[in-house]
Amino acid sequence: MKYYIDTLKGVMVTTRHLVKNVLRREKAGVVTVEYPEKKLTYRPNFRGLHRLTRRPDGTPKCVACFMCETVCPAYCIHIEAEESPDGRIEKRPKVFVIDELRCVVCGLCVEACPEDAIRMDTAVHPPPATGRDEFLYERDVLMSHKGAGPEPPAASGGGRRR
């Protein structure tokens, strides 16, 4: 008997919350947004789709140092390096692919990058796609993404540090 009473009590609690949430939304502090009719504005530090920043001449700032690939806990970055024709930069990415489907959006690649070459400041989500391959973002696609915030300062050559 006690079992049935306790069960009923539980159902009552759930029902009370349900009624409250549906009928008196604001007061109940419900945060659900009626997407897509209503959209929230993201905070400036929101981690969106990656992008590769560029030098003033349009080439990638990335020097293919593999820091991001090394730190990535989801193993979703794949880089292949090559010689850069600019002797002071020396090294550049021939291939740079991010598997956005594997990415856990931790932002560690951005933290690790010594060149400010990879950012997650695009303020957009990876758009849906119909195949896994479409989530493999190649170097040139990543470079075409626009940042929502200010651009990084123009880079000095290569990995030079004072």
Binding site: A64, F66, E90, K91, R161
Partner: protein, 539 residues
């Protein structure tokens, strides 16, 4: 006063630890014997002492100034301290000076991860540079030879490379030029760093000033795993560390071995790691017309078993001295016990030009091992010409070959096609594979736990990378599977068991086991360790 005989040993204390070493030993080497590590850049065990970097400064009691440990010799009753505040301050100062004009290119520097500057910064400097002026800029990424790129900004002018070229290669192609913060290492005008041992300079350069054009930018060093192995370029069998990542070999580094190669490798051998990756046979294959088509391993084993059963009595056997002792032993036992064949033909790579440092004419690493096994098992050994002749006059119908390498300088090698059936355990889609009818992928030395014997009779281990990008198997495994299809009992529990059986049957390996072979290798029974002049500069 009577002159006392020179004492055999000197007793001293290093960081409160008592040490006993022969007189004339340097403090740095003496410290190693009691487990005290003294940081150093310019000192190298096999080169003359330059004592120019001053990283190794230590405090010696009663000496007014700090002493460079790489140069200072031990004396009776000496008290050495390596961690006093004075020493630490000196180390910090040396590091700070080295970094004054250093570009700190680490993100684009191939040495990052194995750089002594990086390591010592974390261990001994631990403070940011106070240098505020403009750094001196020097030439970067200069190709100074066919294999090597030089970066003058990163060079710390330790002259290890210069000393290697002058003292070991005996071809002084490098020299320090210029003065002060403009100085750098250079070849003579119009000359190149192109000695066939030049890549050793990349190995010993403590920083990223010399990088290998071949390895540059292919891989970051921290991704690489190490396997102790040997170079299979020639019958010297130099000790190497094979560095690999996910089943791909990336480079050989010299592994110090005073019995074979000291700290060096020849460039041809060093770059020979590429044969581990290139042209590999990934799956079993059978001939259909002009093509070799992929086949399941089990099916290939079944076909091999059938053919060998049917053609019994008309089978020839070939073995390449590129394969391990384990594979060779399994093959010869298979011949004797199952096929009833008592003759074996040695194939292998063609000889190349030897030199007076390390490289030997026989470009195969295990001819000695295979000969010893063949002799003990009573197999008659013939060369590749006998094999070609047998093919030409139809001495037998079926050829069973383990290892596909053949001397590529003999055009008649194509006559091996004349055998009715060629069954080959092939590492690569080259050599005998090209005339083969049925092929099973064979694991190379870097995919096997095994042994090889160099020309002098030193038995050395090779170890597997642990991951494979193909379905290659060792020959002892493939042959036991084939024997299973022939309804014969021929099994080994694993590589250690193969070697145990080998050590029992072949006196040359008597008493050895995989576990008992030390890192430097073990001399086979009856092998006389050769009179060897170490490739080290005498002190």
């Amino acid at each position: 006063m009577t002159t006392a005989a020179a004492p055999k040993e000197v007793t001293l204390t290093i960081d409160e630890r008592p040490a006993k070493v022969p007189p004339g030993t340097t403090i740095l080497e003496a410290a190693k014997t009691v487990g005290v590590r003294i940081p150093h850049f310019c000192y190298h065990k096999c080169l003359s002492i330059a004592a120019n970097c001053r990283m190794c400064l230590v405090e010696v009691e009663k000496s007014p100034k700090l002493v460079p440990a790489c140069h200072g010799r031990v004396a009776e009753g000496m008290v050495v301290r390596t961690t006093t505040p004075k020493v630490k301050k000196a180390q910090q100062a040396v590091m700070e000076f080295l970094f004054i004009n250093h570009p700190v290119d680490c993100p684009i520097c191939d040495q990052a991860g194995e750089c002594k500057l990086q390591d010592y910064f974390m261990e001994f400097q631990k403070q940011l540079s106070r240098f505020k002026e403009e750094k001196v800029e020097k030439a970067k990424a200069q190709p100074i030879g066919p294999y090597i790129v030089y970066d003058a900004e990163r060079c710390i002018l330790c002259t290890r490379c210069v000393r290697f070229m002058a003292e070991i290669a005996k071809d002084p192609q490098l020299a320090p030029v210029g003065r002060g913060d403009r100085s750098c290492i250079s070849t003579a005008p119009g000359r190149k760093l192109d000695h066939p041992y030049s890549l050793n300079t990349v190995d010993i350069c403590p920083v990223g000033a010399l990088t290998s054009r071949e390895f540059r930018f292919k891989m970051r060093t921290w991704f690489l795993s190490n396997a102790d192995s040997i170079c299979t370029g020639c019958s010297r069998g130099c000790s190497v560390v094979l560095q690999h990542h996910q089943g791909t070999a990336h480079r050989y580094l010299a592994r110090e071995n005073p019995l074979v190669n000291d700290s060096w490798l020849c460039d041809d051998g060093r770059l020979g790691y590429r044969r581990i990756n290139d042209h590999r046979l990934k799956d079993a294959a059978e001939r259909k017309g002009n093509e070799m088509l992929t086949l399941a391993y089990d099916e290939a084993v079944k076909q091999a078993g059938q053919t060998l059963l049917e053609d019994r009595g008309s089978i020839g056997v070939a073995i390449s001295p590129q394969v391990t002792c384990e594979d060779a032993f399994a093959l010869m036992r298979f011949c004797a016990d199952i096929l009833g064949v008592r003759e074996i033909h040695l194939t292998g790579r063609a000889d190349w030009a030897p030199d007076n440092l390390l490289k030997r004419a026989d470009a195969n690493p295990n001819r000695r091992g295979i000969s010893e096994i063949a002799a003990a098992l009573g197999m008659k050994v013939f060369d590749v010409h006998a094999l070609i002749k047998a093919a030409q006059n139809g001495a037998f119908e079926t050829l069973l070959a383990v290892g596909a390498d053949v001397p590529d300088d003999i055009p008649e090698i194509l006559d091996l096609k004349k055998f009715e059936t060629v069954i080959v355990l092939a590492e690569r889609t080259r050599g005998i594979f090209e005339v083969g009818d049925l092929a099973i992928p064979l694991a190379v030395h870097a995919e096997q736990d095994g042994t090889m014997v160099n020309a002098e009779g030193l038995v050395q281990r090779v170890r597997p990378m642990g991951r494979q990008k193909n379905r290659a198997v060792p020959a002892w495994k493939a042959l036991s599977d084939v024997a299973g299809r022939m309804e014969r009992e021929f099994r080994f529990a694993g590589p250690d068991a193969v070697f145990a059986a080998l050590a029992e049957a072949v006196p040359f390996f008597g008493g050895m086991s995989h576990a008992s072979i030390p890192a430097h290798g073990a001399w086979g029974a009856g092998a006389a360790p050769p009179e060897r002049k170490p490739l080290c500069t005498p002190r």
